[in-house]
């Protein structure tokens, strides 16, 4: 692993969006009903261990992953299983629980010092239902407990717009992050803490425990995948594990208190000037209690890699940002003739490129679907130096061998190439689909 203190990802992508949530962090009470939504757990094949109207307590197992039978997801609150929601092809989507705070949580053994071996740490994490928060490169899947990570990347910042800023909550969580890093140290000697170089946080405390790297880049470019790409000196690191700081807080608290930690920090943005802020919430909370539906698109996760929430309003497992994106249609005559001072544009084709206005995000496609015009913009922005237009051709021609040789698996699925494409091709979706297919083929 290379050991720089700072990496600069030169491919700049600096469109600015209006609506940064306020750094103020509010605490929300637990909602009368919560939902454990699987929307952000794509690689899990769930097998339920509870049934409708069962009583469950905080920290009790709800389901496990059939492909990884030791990986369970636990109930964040005590109460009664109110409803099981299935999607197409009888796929479990959400477990709704009617909260009952009177029921005491499940008591785990308190671990005041980190376990002494990797095996102990793993079984402690598995037992406490914390494993499903891990992810592994290159497929962004949940790693198998029996594997040994070649490196662990801890993300201190999600550089997509509007995600929780560690600086907003640092005093509350700094000790837990330190304790969490101690726990991770038992799993793997190579721990890389990735911070956003543009956020001022004192990282000195953690620099003896891990390799601390500040990434100077825009938006999605300081993702774990991008960090590994710029740091790796051998292909063993291609399968690094990663997590974010919230995971460290969760494991540190659960280990120390013996109670399944159910609090997370999230941001709301694009909802209203008064509501857009940081929040400390209970996992799986019902968002309609703070943000009843409005005529905007509700997005779980980032603007570039989020999921358009359909009907469910329960915060899915592992989602820490909720955005509402404007969907109003603006009609103007020949919009492509405008000077475009207010248009967000990566390219110099609109004046907005030079003026860098803060524009509110909108779901407008901004053009029509066309074939690739070889403009090369996608290549200009890719944080891991791929040639997305060539990859696209290979993927369309089903030539996955060449695509892999050209670096398909390095793709961080950041969505920035899709954002800039004037032909409105969803490149990252194609790469994601191909990667998912490959994963399934390999693991079939």
């Amino acid at each position: 692993m290379k050991k720089p203190e700072r990496i600069t990802i030169k491919k700049v992508f600096d469109v600015r969006f209006k609506g940064e949530p306020s750094p103020e962090c509010r605490v929300l009470p637990v909602s009368p009903r919560i939902g454990v939504s699987l929307a952000n757990l794509p690689s899990i094949k769930p097998k339920l261990v509870v049934a409708e109207s069962d009583t469950v307590v905080q920290g009790q197992a709800l389901f496990y992953d059939k492909t990884n039978p030791h990986v369970y997801v636990h109930a964040p609150v005590s109460g009664t299983v109110h409803r099981l929601v299935y999607g197409p092809r009888r796929q479990l989507q959400c477990i709704e629980i009617a909260t009952n705070s009177a029921l005491p949580p499940l008591a785990f053994e308190r671990l005041l010092t980190p376990p002494t071996s990797a095996a102990d740490t793993k079984s402690a994490l598995l037992e406490r239902g914390l494993w499903a928060y891990w992810r592994q490169l290159p497929f962004n899947t949940i790693p198998r407990p029996q594997d040994t990570p070649p490196a662990i990347v801890v993300q201190l910042a999600n550089p997509e717009p509007f995600h929780p800023r560690l600086s907003a909550v640092l005093p509350r969580v700094a000790n837990d992050i330190t304790a969490g890093l101690r726990i991770l140290q038992t799993l793997c000697p190579t721990i890389i803490v990735v911070a956003d170089a543009n956020e001022s946080i004192n990282l000195d405390d953690w620099s003896d425990m891990a390799q601390v790297v500040r990434v100077d880049a825009d938006f999605n470019h300081c993702s774990p995948g991008a960090a590994i790409y710029h740091l790796k000196d051998s292909d063993t690191y291609n399968h690094a594990w990663y997590c974010d700081w919230q995971f460290l807080v969760k494991i540190a608290q659960t280990f120390a208190t013996g109670v399944y930690a159910n609090q997370s920090y999230i941001t709301l943005s694009g909802y209203s000037d008064t509501a857009d802020a940081h929040y400390q919430v209970t996992d799986g909370m019902d968002l309609t209690t703070v943000a009843p539906p409005i005529a905007k698109r509700m997005v779980w996760g980032g603007l570039f890699s989020g999921i358009a929430a359909a009907e469910s309003f329960f915060l899915p497992v592992g989602i820490d940002a909720v955005s509402w994106v404007d969907t109003t249609e603006t009609v103007s005559l020949m919009p492509f003739l405008a000077l475009g001072a207010a248009k967000p544009s990566f390219t110099r084709a609109y004046l907005g490129h030079f003026l860098k206005p803060f524009t509110p995000p909108s779901t407008a496609l901004g053009g029509s679907y066309r074939d690739c015009v070889s403009c090369g913009h996608c290549e200009t922005v890719c944080p891991v130096h791929l040639m997305p237009q060539s990859l696209l051709r290979q993927v369309n021609a089903d030539d996955t061998d060449t695509a892999i040789r050209y670096g398909l698996l390095d793709c961080t699925q950041c969505g920035v190439c899709t954002y800039v494409c004037p032909a409105k091709i969803d490149l990252s979706a194609q790469f994601t689909a191909t990667k998912d297919r490959l994963y399934n083929e390999v693991n079939a």
Binding site: V15, F17, K232, D233, D235, N238, R297, F304, G306, A308, V325, V331, S332, L333, M334, P335, F336, L337, K343, P344, F346, T347, R348, A349, Y350, T363, A364, L365, G366, G367, S368, Y369, R370, D371, C372, V373, S374, C375, G376, E379, H385, M387, Q389, S390, I404, R405, Y406, G407, L408, L409, G415, T418, Y419, C421, P422, A423, K424, D426, S428, T432
Partner: protein
């Protein structure tokens, strides 16, 4: 305006799947989006998109072409009155230019548009706005005397053979406008060489000792022991003339200065690659300099034409700025753009000098380099891939 938009939207079901005019959907889509842009919203995980689309892309190229087009129209009239030796006002020169140019342009758009719509309807894809550029570029490369039936044939060839047989815009590897021009050039050479550059009807008996040879024609025809520069100045051409462009030549290609204005627009807006342009200028300068060094008593005088003259005569400026930079037919990767541009410069001079039968080398040079563009990209990509740390299954 909103009203009109709503009316158009209300018609949508007729053209969408299952509607009565389902087959004409591409036409409907083109009409709506040309006037109001697209009202589509994002799908998938990327919720927001850049404002840039292919229409903006194409419109910027057209804006960059406006100066040369307007000047071309004026110059057609100017050359006409100069040839017949009659003084004329600015207005009548422009009028004359318009009467010559507009039929050519309209033919190009009408015939080109016909093929574009036909293929879109048959292949069930959207109409690509690229033809708006092709349809304008092609007339600008033609002499004002071109018969309209040749314009129609040329643009048909360019769009059908140069583009659609490969699957349409984005999949073609030759520049369609140049393909059209090359077709006309090789099928009807008489119309594109010799004294055809001034729009005087053949019955014009008033021609009084006026030569309408282009600077490139003069240079190619220079015989020993005369030097090219002398021949050019004898014919009344200076570098300044060629920069400004009030000289005989293809309609839109004579003014180097206005090509530079177009280049500035394309570069500032990021639509065309400056690497390609600079590369081709370097190619011309290097090659011409080398050839100048080879000049002896036995070589043709054309060999001694200076790099500066090579840059300002003929269609080089127009070709390097507007034709070579077509993103679809030029290479994708930055290093290959340098090589590609340089190659165009080298070939332009070589074709001009080595084969004076085709004094205009730019067109062939670009088409030839178009053919090699995928190979250049492939080499650069393979080189880059070899430097990556592999990430396999």
């Amino acid at each position: 305006m909103k009203f009109l938009y709503r009316r158009l939207q209300a018609l949508a079901p007729l053209f969408e799947k299952g509607g009565r005019f389902e087959r004409l959907y591409p036409l409907y889509e083109a009409v709506v989006t040309i006037h109001f842009g697209s009202s589509d919203t994002t799908r998938g995980r990327v919720q927001v998109r850049d404002a840039l689309d292919t229409k903006r892309f194409m419109i910027l190229v057209i804006i960059a072409l406006i100066p040369v087009t307007l000047f071309g129209i004026y110059n057609v009239g100017y050359q006409f009155y100069a040839a017949i030796g009659e003084p004329a006002s600015f207005g009548s020169m422009v009028m004359k230019g318009l009467t010559v140019f507009m039929p050519i342009l309209l033919t190009s758009y009408a015939v080109g548009g016909f093929w574009e719509v036909l293929f879109a309807v048959v292949r069930k894809h959207e109409i690509n706005e690229g033809f708006l550029v092709t349809g304008l570029l092609f007339p600008l490369t033609l002499p004002p005397t071109i018969p309209l039936w040749q314009v129609a044939l040329g643009i048909s060839f360019g769009i059908v053979i140069g583009k659609e047989v490969f699957g349409g815009t984005g999949k073609n590897f030759l520049n369609p406008a140049l393909t059209a021009r090359a077709f006309v050039y090789f099928s009807y050479p008489a119309y594109l060489s010799g004294e055809v550059w001034t729009a005087v009807s053949s019955s014009a008996s008033r021609l009084v000792g006026y030569t309408s040879a282009t600077p490139l024609g003069v240079a190619a025809a220079t015989a020993q022991p005369q030097a090219v520069t002398d021949a050019l100045s004898e014919a009344g051409y200076t570098v300044m003339h060629c920069m400004i462009g009030l000289i005989p030549g293809s309609i839109g290609e004579t003014s180097v200065l206005l090509c530079l204005v177009g280049a500035a627009i394309l570069i500032v807006t990021g639509v065309a690659s400056w690497r390609t342009m600079v590369g081709s200028v370097l190619g011309v300068v290097v090659t011409a300099t080398v050839l100048n060094g080879l000049v002896s008593d036995t070589t043709i005088p054309f060999l001694g034409m200076s790099p500066l003259w090579h840059l300002v005569v003929g269609s080089f400026a127009f070709g390097a700025v507007f034709m070579a930079t077509d993103p679809v037919s030029s290479p994708d990767l930055k290093p290959s753009k340098w090589v590609y541009g340089f190659g165009i410069g080298v070939l332009t001079v070589l074709i001009r000098v080595v084969n004076p039968a085709y004094p205009e080398g730019v067109m062939l040079a670009i088409l030839l380099m178009n053919v090699f563009a995928p190979l250049m990209d492939y080499s650069v990509a393979e080189y880059r891939v070899r430097k990556r740390i592999p990430n396999g299954l």
